[in-house]
Symmetry: C2
């Protein structure tokens, strides 16, 4: 197993090749969608709900650990429960690491420089309190707000996924604004790739990755060509409407360069297709199917 000083994207590439899977499983726990037996009763305390979130997310991790190189806990759902939720989040991250998984915290954080440094210091690396291997980051505040994240990521063998083109219908309102002959998201992408290029590791990708939605397959392929040093986190696969063929353009010729996230389609799979062996078996079947679909479109 590579040491923690190995760059994040090299560790990710090795795990993808070992498991033959570019699937990222998003952990977005929601009270009303927890399986029977775990779902807290009406009137449960936040501490009880947080414990149920922890148990569900850890159960998902146990069910999919050999099928995915990386999980992505969504900070919002844990924060929604107050401090008890944050304690649960820390426990979920520890559990994922114990299961041999990489962890990308989906926090979409950012602030001006010295505050951005506090976020990066807190979330990234084995010696940080949250121990994230990677973090999602928002670009609106500009380059001096992104550098603290990419600098600390480079020092600690971690990664950063910067929002470039998001998967939501309203993502275009500002991201698609034309400026100097290019939409804004291309300009953000150019900046991200310049940082990635300057920090390239053995796998050919640098510490700065990009979030590029699967709901825009044509843009995904164009961005893959325009950002050759930048690893993509592709959300929108599964429940958000993206198909495996829609994400195909995100991979490079070796089948690397992209992780494809599925959250609800995997972690709540038992709602639509319950399994005789219990909710974790239903989650596993959904993850297996997602991996199979992705293998069919993944080069190499």
């Amino acid at each position: 197993m590579p040491s923690l000083e190995t760059p994040f994207f090299d560790r990710l590439a090795a795990a993808i090749l070992a498991k033959r899977s570019p699937l990222m499983v998003g952990l977005d726990p929601r009270w009303q969608q927890l399986p029977e037996g775990l779902r807290p009763a009406d009137g449960a305390s936040l501490t009880e709900v947080a414990e149920a979130f922890r148990a569900h997310s850890c159960g998902v991790i146990d069910a999919v650990a050999d099928l995915t190189p990386i999980i992505k806990p969504q900070a919002a759902f844990f924060e929604q429960l107050g401090p008890a939720g944050m304690t649960a989040l820390a426990a979920v991250i520890d559990h994922a690491h114990a299961a041999g998984l990489l962890v990308c915290i989906d926090g979409k954080r950012n602030d001006i420089g010295s505050t951005a440094e506090a976020y990066a210091d807190g979330w990234l690396g084995a010696t940080s309190p949250w121990k994230g291997d990677a973090l999602t980051v928002s670009p609106y505040l500009g380059d001096d707000s992104l550098e603290p994240f990419t600098n600390i990521a480079a020092e600690r063998g971690c990664g950063v996924f910067i929002l470039v083109k998001t998967s939501n219908p309203g993502g275009g309102l500002f991201q698609d604004q034309q400026s100097g002959g290019q939409p804004l998201y291309r300009q953000v992408g150019n900046y991200v790739d310049s940082i990635a290029k300057a920090t390239v590791g053995e796998c050919g990708y640098g510490v700065a990755g990009a979030v590029v939605g699967a709901t825009y397959p044509e843009q995904l392929a164009k961005l893959r060509a325009a950002m050759p040093h930048t690893w993509f986190l592709v959300p929108g696969f599964g429940a958000q409407g993206g198909a495996a063929t829609d994400v195909a353009g995100g991979f490079d010729a070796k089948g690397l360069g992209a992780v494809v996230n599925s959250s609800r389609g995997v972690i709540f799979a038992y709602e639509k297709r319950p399994h005789a062996d219990g909710w974790q078996a239903a989650v596993r079947v959904a993850a297996e199917e997602a991996v199979q679909q992705l293998r069919e479109v993944m080069p190499g």
Copy 2:
């Protein structure tokens, strides 16, 4: 005292008029800058540091409660300490409310719609776990990522401050991109003001506010004219280089429409100007001076 159903900006306006102060005190605790007696020794546990952050922030609140209508804890510095820091943050918010202050959480959160809703639900309102009266939000993900925040804020008598023009040197990299004859930040501002206009309260301002840096005084005055329904949170006063005259353009003719944040210049004032009566007295003197400077440029 107005009930919690009273819109946030009406509550803020009333508190500003009652205290004759538009000063917002930012709580950005940092280990090495805590006063002697509170500063943890090298090797202290995160729980010990979190307790020191709590004690410092609560001490600042006690020192300035009659001088400011609102405090702004910076989530990053509490998150930097892991779950223990988040527990301290919740305690600081409770302490501020007990002191009669409004609380704006500086989290610069956002995500796609359903996840944005989880952030808004978790952070905003007296019945939420964090109990924020307002929250800072990032706009890059577009309108359908901002509506969950403004909708929940409107329901709960809370406010949202959306990043428009930030105070850091690199803020212009994307915010100043020209598109359709306007810089991007003006387009974000137009969107924010349209939401504010549709939700205007008695004070003349709606639930959507804007972050507009004091380091760009000319733009601040232009934005004040272009966004007549939008309350401004003006960072950059004090330690970041903005003077009181630089923020003057943020106020309307009644002296409302802006809160002016000072963080380091107030909360660590004892570093440069210690006071014989202790660190809290030094903090109080700095806050008094900031209020005095702001009163001189505040109309009405």
